[in-house]
């Protein structure tokens, strides 16, 4: 089995936030903690693109590298999880993560941080799979139930894909080939010097002025 991965197809993401509320719903995530967010570039102008971002479950996870108490671990499928009982809330992982995945519940008191919380790929935590303890601390464990992350399964346009890396890469690749584009947002152009990198799609310029030629 390949590693578990997320990829968000920026050609399809319409910033509907289903992924965000699906996660909130499934794990009863409190106000102020945003395991998943939608990030929009070039908001309101041609070239606007959105992608859904949460923990990317990196193979070489910076959060794991910097944690002073080593509360992180990888599962066999490559999912990055952590142990809240060990976590001391120092926040270092939050600095290290390029995606802003580690979240800390806002308690309102200056300088006080609770345990770190983040996307678990719906794979729970170190507690027994599907137990009440696991739900209270980490949320649901869909992987152990034979399901995939709620965010990917509920995405309105199937932009956000989550699951076996090989399978979702295949789904994504089919789309890119069918439409002839879509991989630029992920740095394809930067890496391989394609002309399309960073350019707005052809023809998507606003036409005319709204006030009738005045």
């Amino acid at each position: 089995m390949a590693r578990m991965k997320f990829i968000c197809d920026a050609e399809r993401c319409i910033e509907c936030n289903a992924c965000v509320t699906a996660c909130k719903n499934e794990h009863e995530v409190p106000w102020g903690v945003n395991r998943r967010r939608v990030v929009t570039l070039n908001d309101g102008v041609p070239g606007e693109k959105s992608i859904s971002v949460a923990c990317m479950h990196c193979s070489d996870a910076p959060c794991m590298a910097v944690c002073p108490v080593n509360c992180f671990y990888h599962t066999d499928e490559g999912v990055v999880l952590h142990n809240k009982d060990t976590c001391i809330g120092c926040g270092y992982c939050s600095y290290a993560c390029p995606f802003g995945a580690p979240q800390f519940p806002s308690q309102g008191t200056f300088g006080v941080r609770g345990k770190m919380d983040k996307c678990t790929f719906c794979a729970g935590g170190p507690e027994a799979h599907g137990s009440e303890e696991e739900f209270k601390k980490y949320g649901r464990n869909r992987l152990a139930e034979g399901k995939l992350p709620a965010c990917a399964e509920m995405c309105s346009t199937k932009a956000l894909l989550g699951g076996d890396g090989d399978v979702i890469a295949d789904i994504f690749r089919t789309r890119v080939i069918t439409r002839g584009k879509g991989a630029e947002v992920w740095g394809w152009g930067t890496a391989y010097g394609s002309k399309q990198a960073g350019q707005p799609p052809q023809g998507a310029q606003p036409n005319g002025t709204a006030n009738g030629g005045k």
Partner: protein, 990 residues
């Protein structure tokens, strides 16, 4: 190099990309462009504080949550109920997981052919309805400015007593009931019946302010006023033109189908005053001035005619009046005039026309952007005419794909509380009343006696868009005996209608104001907040009754594509809420017609009280709504469809083969999913439903059809029926023909194919009033003909104010020069019982130079996180967190001129004198002359927070200014639709 090797000095000196920093949670460093969500979230941190305190961390959960934890373990009694989202009209299915009666989880339904498991933010969070922390829990009464809890018995007793008192003093028309597009089909239908027995046509629902112009305009063009194809069918389109639709936010899951189509080659064009999220996905975006759709569409049509791209055969055979339209268009909509009015240059309009013409079948999509104007009826017809010219109607991949709003606005429109019709669009003439008297098993004379007079029985009621004038206007100019003295908001918010300042005054003057809703809604706060002392009626009584949501009852709802889906009951009504049909029954009993209302239904016990069995109500609909084919969708067929979703094809919506439902033994073979209406005849006829309307390539028993013969046989010597050779596949009559009645049946010699029982019922009747369904059976099954006839669509609708759609400037606009060239209609003295202003008000606005004081066009629309008036969705913390502030989108140039910066507070002021305090979102989405506000907010009033005026504990989490507090007068010339998409304002730095 691995991050974990800390030995190398190079690692520490490595520069990190600025991009990395900018993705930092909270976005402390502003990017060159700030996206809407981020900018708002920063400003709303304080709002969540009260909420956060009770939900501090995932490690500890307090209070009520613990009880749920026990239910969430999966070790108790777990059931899965299949239901449908309660928000928009796409109709996404949901599997609700219930343990020990508590709604603990929700799973996507991949099997659904409509949404394939997908949701938007609202659908993905519906489970919160099962928490409902901010719901209205008990009946309440407004006492000395505060809402106090009362018992149901007291509430029903007092309300009914007051209603009967008002009836005696001022007649039944003094009570206005605003019904709901969120009621399921059965409840909507029951409400129309309720109003009929109360004795007034003063009822309406959200369709008025949403797609009423569509229904009128489209039905008058070719027969039925509904989406002709479906979201799924859009996958077959080669080009798609969205004009006045922001589907990415209003119908997000529809984009699944569109974006798939786009990937496989469909060309997408979006026309909108704003660069919306839908426009961001378009191949081509065209910005137009709000309110100028007719000019644009006819500019497109000009090029179609000029280049001979129209489908001449199709027009000859199936369209009436296109020559007249062509003459009008070629003269009036030359490229220079088009650009003058809507601002789009010739090259762009030409390209749109070329794309639509060269990539057929092409589809045209519209939503509020076209409908909410004083000429909405003309705009939608212009869209229809373009599609008729291209031969795109009745074709898979083509169509006029009208995206409806609420989850059951289609159903409520079809069978619900309309002021001008009975369920199924049966009019208010005596024939219709007699038809229903029979179905309802009551004496026609008795119904007649309930009305103030026979005249009032056949007269269309006041529309919800004008109820305030029904209260405030001079009595002598209202076309009914008394002013409105009582209003019941039954599942309807107030802040989605215009003229909020006047609405407050009207609310204060009422004798009785009742809200029946799962949430108090903005009405509760608006009623309780202090207004002008001279307005307040000292005898006013305000009540709030808790209704249950659609998850606390079962029933059917109709999606935009006309498919009906059955919802299973997920949980019992929370707290003291009761289902709407139970409330209708109980109120009817108090008012004296409870038996008549529910005599045809069995009762079941819910929380120990009688509730009409929902399936029985649907069966009554099946027995009566022949006109639009709501007769084949029996509860059994619908439930089987919901259980066998996986067996329906996603592209065609047809059952993949013969599959038998285990529970009922029903075989879905041949059915289209949800039996999209019209599903003609009795359930036994097993009509499969009609996926694409007017499709002559199919047999009528296969879902095929043709245009309706509703407008006569001939006009000015021109044949209105279809030409020879134009008919649905396999029809025995290969020419045009009128609708069927007993006379025609006898003439054709088909009469004897009816059984004796059918003959008895059909004698003297037509296909709409034949309660046996025999005429329909014989006509369709035996002869492949369409019961409503086979005629031409009308490009010229002679009974409309403008038979050929004309552009007319909005009542409040910024172009006085164009008002002179394209003025509005003449005023109407009595229109839906009220005097209605057009030209005189428009001219006064120009004379007063309002365009100088208010030089910015104000338009409003939807956000993906919220729905409708918004109190319901703003009470869901998972949604509320995403949009915490009401805002106005203002162009950087306009903002700079006013000293307004992004994120700062500002005042939006309009000619009504209202001032809205909102946050400024400076963005290039809108042009320098346009501003946009979402309409979902309420709970703040001209700078003041109305939290104190809500019942304790039942206020929405997020409150903001309602744009409609400040919107202006302006109504459609056929349906009284409000002109919300274009008014004027100015914006000042606060």
């Amino acid at each position: 190099m691995l991050l974990t090797k800390k030995t190398s000095a190079a690692a520490s000196g490595a520069s990190s990309s600025p991009f990395v920093h900018s993705l930092r949670r909270g976005m402390a460093h502003a990017l060159p462009t700030m996206d809407r969500r981020t900018f708002l979230r920063r400003s709303g941190v304080g709002i969540g504080a009260g909420l956060a305190a009770s939900q501090l961390s995932l490690v500890k959960k307090a209070g009520a949550a613990d009880a749920e934890q026990k239910a969430g373990t999966g070790k108790g009694k777990v059931e899965v109920k299949r239901t449908v989202c309660t928000h928009c009209s796409v109709g996404c299915a949901i599997d609700a997981v219930v343990e020990n009666g508590v709604w603990v989880r929700q799973e996507p339904v991949f099997d659904s052919p409509i949404n394939l498991g997908a949701h938007c933010a609202k659908g993905a969070s519906v489970r919160e309805h099962g928490h409902g922390e901010h719901r209205l829990r008990y009946p309440m009464k407004l006492v000395n400015g505060k809402y106090e809890r009362i018992s149901w018995d007291t509430a029903l007793e007092e309300i009914s007593a007051r209603m009967l008192e008002l009836r005696k003093e001022s007649g039944p028309d003094s009570v206005y009931v605003v019904g709901s597009s969120k009621h399921n089909n059965e409840q909507s239908y029951l409400l129309r019946k309720f109003m009929s027995f109360w004795g007034s046509n003063n009822c309406d629902h959200q369709a008025r302010i949403c797609h009423s112009t569509t229904v009128a305009g489209v039905a008058n063009t070719w027969g039925y006023g509904a989406m002709t194809n479906s979201y799924n069918d859009m996958q077959n389109a080669k080009a798609a033109l969205y004009i006045g639709s922001n589907a990415a936010e209003a119908h997000p899951v529809s984009m699944l189908h569109l974006l798939h189509a786009k990937e496989t080659g469909c060309k997408v064009m979006v026309v909108d005053p704003r660069f919306t999220r839908t426009a961001a996905k378009a191949d081509k975006y065209i910005r137009i001035r709000s309110g100028t759709d007719v000019a644009f569409l006819f500019g497109v049509l000009y090029h179609i005619f000029k280049n001979g791209w129209e489908d001449k055969n199709y027009i000859n055979a199936r369209v009436y009046g296109m020559d007249d339209v062509k003459a009008d268009v070629m003269a009036k909509w030359t490229p220079d005039k088009v650009q003058d009015v809507c601002g789009v240059d010739e090259a762009t309009v030409y390209e749109v026309a070329k794309t639509m013409a060269e990539n057929r079948p092409s589809t045209l999509v519209w939503c509020m952007g076209q409908t909410q104007h004083s000429i909405g009826n003309a705009m939608v017809r212009a869209s229809c005419i373009v599609q008729l010219a291209l031969g795109n109607i009745g074709v898979s991949g083509g169509g006029a794909n009208i995206f409806r709003g609420h989850d059951n606005v289609q159903g409520a429109t079809d069978v619900g509380p309309n002021p001008d019709s009975l369920p199924g669009y049966y009019g208010l003439a005596e024939g219709s009343w007699r038809h229903y008297a029979k179905v309802w098993d009551v004496d026609y004379e008795w119904i007649k006696s309930r009305y103030a007079s026979p005249a009032m029985m056949t007269k269309s009621g006041i529309t919800v868009s004008r109820w305030i004038d029904g209260v405030l206007e001079n009595n002598d100019v209202i076309d009914q005996d008394s002013n409105l003295r009582a209003v019941i908001f039954w599942g309807h918010a107030p802040n989605s209608q215009t003229r909020g300042l006047e609405m407050k005054r009207a609310m204060d003057k009422l004798d009785l104001l009742v809200v029946i809703d799962p949430y108090p809604s903005a009405t509760a706060a608006m009623a309780a907040m202090p207004g002008k002392s001279e307005d307040l009626n000292p005898k006013r009584a305000v009540y709030l009754l808790p209704a249950a949501t659609q998850f606390e009852t079962s029933g059917s709802c109709t999606a935009s594509n006309r498919s009906l889906q059955w919802r299973e009951k997920v949980i019992e009504p929370l707290w003291e809420s009761r289902s709407d049909h139970m409330i209708m029954y109980q109120l009817a009993q108090k008012l004296g017609f409870g038996n008549e209302l529910c005599k045809n239904y069995k009762m079941q016990k819910v929380k120990g009280m009688d509730e009409p069995v929902i399936e029985d109500i649907l069966r009554e609909i099946n027995r009566s709504n022949w006109t639009i084919g709501y007769t084949g969708q029996s509860p059994e067929r619908l439930k089987a469809h919901m259980r066998l979703m996986h067996a329906f094809d996603v592209k065609t919506l047809r059952a993949k083969g013969s599959v038998v439902d285990k529970e009922t033994g029903y075989d879905i073979a041949g059915d289209y999913f949800g039996l999209p209406w019209p599903c003609f005849g009795t359930p036994e006829l097993k009509h499969p439903g009609s996926p694409n309307l007017y499709d002559t390539s199919k047999h009528v028993m296969d879902g095929g059809g043709n245009f309706r013969a509703n407008f006569g046989v001939e006009r000015n010597g021109v044949n209105l029926l279809a030409e020879d050779g134009s008919h649905s596949k396999g029809a025995d009559i290969p020419t045009g023909y009128p609708e069927f009645d007993h006379v025609l049946m006898k003439k054709l010699g088909w009469w004897d194919e009816l059984t004796d029982a059918e003959k008895a019922a059909a004698e003297g009747k037509n296909w709409k009033t034949d309660l046996s369904g025999g005429i329909i059976r014989v006509v369709m099954k035996n002869h492949g003909c369409h019961p409503f006839g086979n005629a031409k669509a009308r490009a010229v609708v002679w009974n409309f104010p403008d038979p050929i759609p004309q552009h007319r400037e909005p009542i409040y606009g910024t172009r006085p020069d164009l008002v002179a060239k394209y003025p509005s209609h003449d005023d109407m003295k009595t229109f839906w019982r009220l005097p209605t202003l057009y030209k005189s008000l428009q001219q006064k606005n120009v004379d007063d130079k309002l365009y100088e004081k208010f030089p910015i066009i104000l338009t409003s629309g939807r956000l993906v996180e919220y729905e409708g008036g918004g109190d319901e969705t703003r009470s869901n913390p998972w949604l509320a967190e995403l949009q915490q502030e009401s805002f106005v989108e203002i162009n950087p140039k306009a903002a700079a001129e006013r000293g307004i910066t992004n994120g700062s507070r500002c005042w939006v002021v309009t000619p009504t004198g209202a001032r809205l305090n909102v946050q400024a979102l400076v963005t290039e989405r809108v042009a320098p002359d346009t501003a946009f506000m979402p309409f979902h907010f309420a709970g703040r009033w001209q700078g003041k927070d109305l939290l104190a005026y809500y019942p304790e504990g039942a206020a929405p989490i997020v409150r903001g200014e309602a744009v409609n507090t400040a919107t202006t007068y302006g109504y459609d010339s056929v349906t009284m639709m409000q002109e919300t998409k274009t008014t004027i304002c100015n914006i000042e730095k606060a």
